[in-house]
């Protein structure tokens, strides 16, 4: 009974750990350039500024603003993932997994707020996921030619 309890607790914890590690490995995918900058610029996304504020200025976390900003960026990017230069108009499996991961971390952020724990690591992870999404959109848009339009110009017309 004791051995089974230990196995259950350890296995369940490791299952979540491996899910998280898989998501992190997908996020470590290397893009040939920083596509996300163009996408963030064209769509007025604010996650790069959130990360910059946290990483460089070590500013205190303005929780309501950060939550609203990241949520808006997430909605915009998931729309673009589905509709920008995507003929199938569906998400891929890894995009779905990362969307679930984003929601799980968002929930963890909410819990950390309630328990008065450090929120910064969760917020940085959320910006990392958004950057990955923006990189994917940017890479897709970059592969499609729109006459003389740049990726930013094309996305503004969407």
């Amino acid at each position: 009974m004791f051995a089974a309890s230990v196995i259950l607790i350890v296995s369940a914890a490791l299952f979540l750990f491996y899910l998280q590690a898989t998501c992190q490995k997908i996020l470590a995918h290397k893009f040939d350039q920083a596509y996300y900058l163009t996408i963030a610029d064209a769509n007025r996304l604010e996650f790069p500024f959130v990360r910059k504020a946290l990483e460089e200025f070590r500013a205190p976390v303005d929780y309501p603003w950060v939550c609203m900003t990241l949520k808006c960026d997430y909605l915009a990017l998931t729309y673009l993932l589905k509709n920008a230069a995507n003929a199938k108009h569906t998400y891929t499996r890894e995009e779905r997994l990362l969307m679930l991961y984003f929601r799980a971390i968002f929930f963890a952020l909410f819990t950390a707020r309630l328990l008065k724990l450090a929120e910064k690591p969760a917020i940085l992870k959320l910006t990392e996921i958004l950057q990955h999404f923006a990189d994917i959109v940017g890479e897709r848009v970059n592969q499609v030619r729109f006459g003389d339009l740049s990726a930013s110009d094309y996305l503004i017309t969407l």
Binding site: S11, T22, K52
Partner: protein
């Protein structure tokens, strides 16, 4: 009814992905670079996708033949998984010969310890040799041993230089495959073999296999051969974008 449909969807999803993954490994010529993964996938296809359904079709679900085939193939796949973990250790220690010499002794010891722990209840007279509870217990310990070894490998890979870029994702996938069923089996033991627990464990196994296969498919299709490094922008790029 829904239980059976969910079970069938998961099972046929597994079969399909196993075949697709073998095709992807052969098509990309990865069977030379990843011989352990290729052999494990082949054994999965041979035993899980072909062998079991053939016996099921020939003898029926309630036959003794299918019952023995199911448990024997389960143990065979478990042993194949253990060997796969060993092959991952070998790949990770490609540049660490001294570490590999230690592991070459430690890995068989872990296997022997697992067998010994499973045999203890028979020796104490709590289980009969013919009782399949022994096999279930052996599988549970084996899953857990593989899970612990896999986790040690994952931790080790953070400190040693791994040439094969796909290895971390392959290890993550295998971790999912070990962790889920180990937890499921523990739930069955803790609930004293209640029907709902058995039903839950029966779904967890193919679901985790599906997770492992999808992770491996991603590793085979998307991840480059060389190790990955996360991209970080140079300071000031955010201002340039603005």
């Amino acid at each position: 009814m829904i239980n059976a449909v969910v079970g069938d969807v998961l099972q046929y999803g597994d079969y399909l992905l196993e075949v697709v993954l073998v095709a992807a490994v052969v098509y990309r010529g990865l069977w030379r670079r990843l011989p352990g993964v290729s052999l494990y996938l082949l054994s999965l296809v041979a035993l899980d996708t072909v062998g079991r359904p053939l016996v099921l079709y020939r003898f029926g679900f309630h036959s003794t033949e299918y019952w023995y085939t199911y448990w024997i193939t389960n143990v065979a796949l478990q042993l194949a998984a253990f060997l796969l973990v060993c092959s991952f250790f070998r790949s990770a220690c490609a540049n660490e010969e001294r570490l590999w010499h230690v592991l070459r002794l430690a890995l068989p010891l872990v296997f022997l310890l697992t067998v010994a722990l499973s045999v203890v209840p028979i020796w104490q007279g709590r289980l009969s040799k013919m009782n399949m509870d022994f096999v279930a217990q052996f599988e549970q310990y084996m899953y857990f041993a593989c899970l612990v070894l896999n986790t040690l490998l994952f931790i080790m890979m953070q400190y040693v230089e791994v040439e094969e870029g796909r290895l971390p994702l392959l290890v993550c996938g295998l971790g999912l495959q070990f962790a889920g069923p180990a937890a499921g089996m523990a739930v069955v033991v803790l609930t004293g073999g209640q029907e709902y627990a058995k039903s839950l464990a029966a779904h967890i196994d193919p679901l985790c296999t599906l997770g492992m296969l999808l992770t491996w498919l991603y590793a085979v299709r998307r991840v480059p051969r060389t190790a990955l490094r996360p991209v970080r922008e140079e300071p000031g790029t955010v201002e340039q974008a603005a």
